[in-house]
Each structure stands twice: as C-alpha cells, then as structure tokens.
Subunit: 167 residues, 2 copies
DNA sequence: TAACATATGTAATAACGTTACAGCAGGGCA
DNA sequence: TGCCCTGCTGTAACGTTATTACATATGTTA
C-alpha cells in the first residue's frame, strides 16, 4: 500500500483517514513484535477504539463501544490492554482527564524527542507537538533544587484551530 | 507576630512550622476577603488538613482525617470546599495523582509567575518552583500550530533531595 | 423583613481503577 | 508427545475519585 501523507495535528479529516487507521494497525503490530509481545485480538480491539477517534477516550467508554459491537469485557481486561498499549508507546495517557488517546507521531522512540499534549476543550481532540526543549528545561529546573526527575507531564487545555474558526 | 522565614521546597521541617501554619491561615483569610468569599469553618477545616502536610492529599483522605476529629461530611462538601480553595489560589491540584496540596508561594497572583510542581515518589512531598519561562515556551509552541492555550500544567515525579540523601 | 447570593446538607449514582485468583494459549525443550 | 514456562485473559468483588439533583441554611442588602 502506498504511504499516505501524515495528518497534521488538528487538521480536518480527509478521505485518507481510513488508510491511516490501517497504517496505524500495521505500525501497532510491528511495535508489539519489536517488544516481543502479542498484538492480540483484545488489544487490537481496544487500540482500534482509541485510534478511531482523535479525541481522548476513557476506559469505560472504550468498554461501552466494544460492548455495542458485541464484545463484552471487564474493566480489568481493558486496563490491561491499555497498559500494554502504553508500554509499547502506541497510546498516551492524558492525566488531566484520566483518559487515553492514540499516538500519531511514530517517531518518539526513534528520535527520543518527547511531545507535549494539547487537548481541545471544545471538541476533545488531542494533538501532540514536539516539546523536547520544554522537557529539557523542566529537567534542569528540577535538578537546580536537587530534585531528580523521573516522569514528567506537560498538558495544555484550550481551543484548537478548527474550533476557533467555527466561532 | 514576627514574620518567619519562608521554608524552601523540600527543606527539613523545623520548629517554625507551627507558626507557618498560623500564617497560612491568616493569609487564607485575607485571600477569601479579597475575593469577597467566606472562609467558613468547613473551608478552614479542609484547608487545615491540606496545609498540615507537605504531601498531596486526596479528597477522601481529607474526609477521613476530619472524621477522626469529629467532623463527618459528605464527599460533595469536601469537593465544594476544595473548589473554593482552588478558586482563591490557596491550594493546587496535582493532576497526575488526583490530589491536592497547599500553595506555599504566596506570590503567584501578585507576580503572575506560575510554578511547576515536583512530586516526590518516595515521601509524597510536593514542591513548587518558578516555571514562568517554561509556561511561556509551551504557550508559544501551542500558538505556533494555531492552538489557543487556556490551562496549562507541568508536573514532575521523581526523588526529592531529602529522600535521595537517605539512600 | 423580604429578596438575593452564597454556602452547606442529604442521598444517590457515575466514573475511574485495582486486588485476588483461576484458566487458557502458544513456544521451547526433554 | 508431554511437560513446563511465560504471557495473556476471564470472573468476581471491591476500592477510590467525583458529580447530579434537590432541599435547607446563613449572611448581606434594600
């Protein structure tokens, strides 16, 4: 299959989105292979639900959507799948909403550059932009008072360009 | 009462802490006055529990501690008090832990400089350091893709200097 | 003292997440 | 082939965090 141009954060949906989902699934399979973990049916389904929206989605919402399609699973099963997807780096957790969204920048692990998250309060869409310099700066700031950082979060809530345009 | 020197983030407890708590209560009263809101008994109690620790504390833990002292209130009451305290700027919310901690830098509102939060994974203590430059940078980054930021947070989890020293 | 805004009480429920234990599935190896 | 080991899922119950809806109380002002 021919490669499809990457979609910029908050860009309008286009007719390539279907192909992008397929590509994400392929990428997911490769990511699991790389870590020698299995991209099982359950994990595929959970990832499918998350990747099907550009918004963040809660674990129980994922459950509900799977149930509508005939797959009824317990919360713990969804959380276990989510943990695996987080491990492999296919999804991110949005701390400020206790929700999850699909990673659309295939390159974090290869480049080592971490993104910050932008969550639209109007439409729920989450975008990622490079924030390595920001993380570097926070690291430095922490160390300046003797604090050893391990995990860092940078999240922004506001209005995305598409929603801003509508008003 | 004579002013007591401010305690640096993650500094060891000292014998002035009692006075500092009293000062925080006075400052709290002034903050509520300024906003023409009431620093009611409930709000005093809730703030008291939060300010009594340098760690972050969850709403239900606050409830439990109040109950031990004879005040039994419903979750919603605690959350309403918390909302008021957040409004007035006396406490902060730690998104990554769904918990709250007392603000120990009286100057955010006057200086307009916002802090980043450092949460120790070992002792739970939360410290604040100035992060205005970091927030400026995230703002700029967001706007560079047309996103209008409204709420931002930067949180770091790791090891504080006092816990690091212990090992 | 009536009217209004602020604050709290009561009850139920929604939303998010975990513990504990049992069973299943696939790959490696004697 | 049979066994074991690891990874993965099922089942049930429970724990934690947060909100909705509606009623009552309290303080200020006119």
């Amino acid at each position: 299959m021919a490669a499809v141009p990457a979609r910029a954060p908050f860009a309008a949906p286009d007719k390539n989105d279907g192909k992008r989902l397929t590509q994400m699934m392929e990428r997911a399979e490769a990511a699991f292979d790389l870590k020698e973990l299995r991209f099982t049916k359950l994990r595929q389904q959970v990832f499918g639900e998350i990747a099907a929206t550009h918004a963040s989605i809660g674990a129980y919402e994922i459950m509900a959507r799977m149930a509508e399609k005939g797959t009824r699973v317990a919360p713990i099963s969804v959380y276990r799948a989510i943990d695996a997807l987080l491990d492999v780096g296919l999804i991110h957790r949005l701390e400020s909403k206790n929700a999850f969204f699909a990673c659309r920048r295939a390159d974090h692990t290869s480049t080592g550059r971490r993104p910050i998250f932008l969550s639209c309060e109007s439409c729920g869409t989450v975008g990622e932009v490079d924030g390595q310099d920001i993380f570097d700066l926070t690291d430095e700031r922490a160390r300046s008072i003797g604090f050893t950082p391990r995990i860092k979060f940078v999240e922004i809530q506001g209005m995305c360009p598409r929603c801003a345009e509508k008003k």
